[in-house]
């Protein structure tokens, strides 16, 4: 799974397979992080707007 586990070999198979996998997982992670952060910002903005009104 990781380059430090002992059965890992730097061959085509591992690079393609885990390349694809980590790429996909990365997108999901980044997407969710974005959504959560954006939602947090929006929430703060909302309350700011409420108090300033």
């Amino acid at each position: 799974m990781f380059p430090f586990s002992f059965e890992w070999i730097w061959d085509m198979g591992h690079v393609v397979f885990f390349g694809g996998l980590w790429y996909a997982v990365g997108i999901l992670g980044a997407g969710m992080t974005y959504c959560l952060l954006k939602a947090a910002c929006d929430t703060i903005n909302d309350s700011d707007n409420k108090t300033s009104h």
């Binding site: 586990s5 397979f17 999901l28 959504c35 929006d42």
Partner: protein, 410 residues
């Protein structure tokens, strides 16, 4: 009693009635849970599997639910990537069904393996050459996608949506859903395919083995394709069942027709490919290994040609034809028959590609292996069904699953 949680303007049955219904299904669920714990604590000797039949009912159930759960990824693909806008009216439900199917698949896998506490070795000590590794990774990742797709729908619950953070989160997630859906489609393509690959790469099993493209046997593509083709069938079938049980129309006909038509064309193209694959395998692949087609279908008390006919013609060609022709497609009875046949067909296909492989003798002096599941296997296989019913019931009751519901039930 729970009216504050029920979507505004939606009519639901009384809470006691709902509770009783849930309780009945829960009893079945508990039976399954009991069997599940038996398997975990006493081991797989609780099953009727054996060294010949190492893959059995569960793995079939696993492959089947993933196949019929394919409706989620394919509808998602159509809705978010190909922008088939009408499908927004059924996408929530497709996602929930997918979520149920995939969580069930993961649970079944956790029961099926001999050492559940070491199950994570499949990730940690991954062998990238194994189709099963590909299945495990893509399946888990795609389950994450389904969860992500399901979350906004949960957050739209009347009470939850009152929390500003959740409201914003749901809104933002809708905004980037196309990215998630695209990732999901990518992952689904690989795990549906690699599930097909699981059988196709078994070069020691002439019944399963297929030639293919690069490292991927033809079954890889056939599985992805068939999941995309028959998944929507199942989504529509469950939608219909839900409509019957709730006594309400939940999705407009034009949406159903559209998805059914797409499904029909997918089925027809798939089944054409499947027929070509079967003929090539029967005429070229198997004979090159010394096997005639009759070897796989005769000389035993159960596995006969009827399986081939049922899978390909009755549950493949027939539903495909019904769904591509406008007149039959728009006939409610025929349409439902097509959905049912299609669902049976895809399940039968998965069953053939798992169980029949185990049954066929390969060494000339070996014998057919027949197997009947134990009650523990049956119970743990029914468990996800009960769980699915409960989850759909709860989701339907408390979440705005069907956007057209209000309009159709004014």
């Amino acid at each position: 009693m729970d009216s504050a949680l029920i979507p505004k303007g939606a009519k639901r049955c009384s809470f006691p009635k709902f509770t009783i219904g849930i309780a009945i299904v829960s009893a079945v669920l508990l039976w399954g849970v009991y069997a599940m714990f038996l398997c975990w604590f006493k081991g797989l000797n609780q099953t009727n599997m054996n060294d010949y039949y190492g893959f059995a009912l569960w793995i079939w159930a696993d492959l089947a639910v993933i196949a019929v759960g394919g409706g989620a990824f394919f509808t998602g693909l159509l809705r978010y990537i190909l922008k088939v806008d009408e499908l927004k009216n059924i996408i929530n439900f497709a996602v929930i069904i997918g979520f149920i199917c995939y969580s069930s698949a993961l649970l079944i896998l956790a029961i099926d393996i001999g050492q559940p506490l070491r199950g994570w070795f499949i990730f940690w000590h991954a062998n990238v050459h194994s189709m099963l590794t590909e299945v495990a990774f893509c399946l888990s990742a795609y389950f994450a996608v389904l969860t992500i797709e399901f979350i906004p729908n949960i957050l739209e619950n009347r009470q939850v949506n009152k929390v500003p953070f959740f409201h914003h989160l749901a809104h933002n997630m809708h905004g980037v859903m196309a990215v998630f859906a695209a990732t999901g489609a990518f992952l689904s393509f690989f795990h549906q395919g690699s599930l097909g690959g699981v059988a196709g790469v078994l070069f020691g099993r002439p019944f399963a083995v297929r030639e293919g493209l690069l490292i991927w046997p033809w079954t890889f593509f056939l599985f992805t394709w068939s999941a995309a083709a028959f998944g929507p069938c199942f989504t529509l079938l469950i939608t219909k069942i839900t409509e019957v049980i709730t006594g309400k129309k939940l999705v407009k006909d034009n949406v159903v027709y559209l998805l059914a038509k797409i499904s029909g064309w997918m089925i027809i193209t798939y089944i054409t490919a499947k027929i070509i694959d079967t003929i090539y395998w029967a005429m070229v692949t198997a004979p090159s290994l010394g096997f005639t087609l009759s070897h796989f279908y005769t000389d035993n008390s159960f596995y006969g040609y009827w399986i081939l006919v049922t899978e390909i013609i009755i549950c493949g060609v027939v539903p495909g034809l019904i769904l591509i022709m406008k007149s039959t497609r728009e006939n409610p009875t025929l349409r439902i028959i097509a959905f049912v046949l299609g669902t049976i067909g895809i399940c039968l296909n998965r069953w053939v590609m798992v169980l029949q492989i185990m049954a066929v003798p390969v060494m000339s002096f070996d014998t057919w292996a027949l197997y009947i599941p134990s009650w523990q296997e049956v119970a743990t296989t029914i468990l996800p069904v009960a769980y699915g019913i409960i989850l759909i019931a709860i989701a339907y009751r408390y979440l705005p699953v069907f956007p057209q519901e209000k309009e159709l039930n004014r």
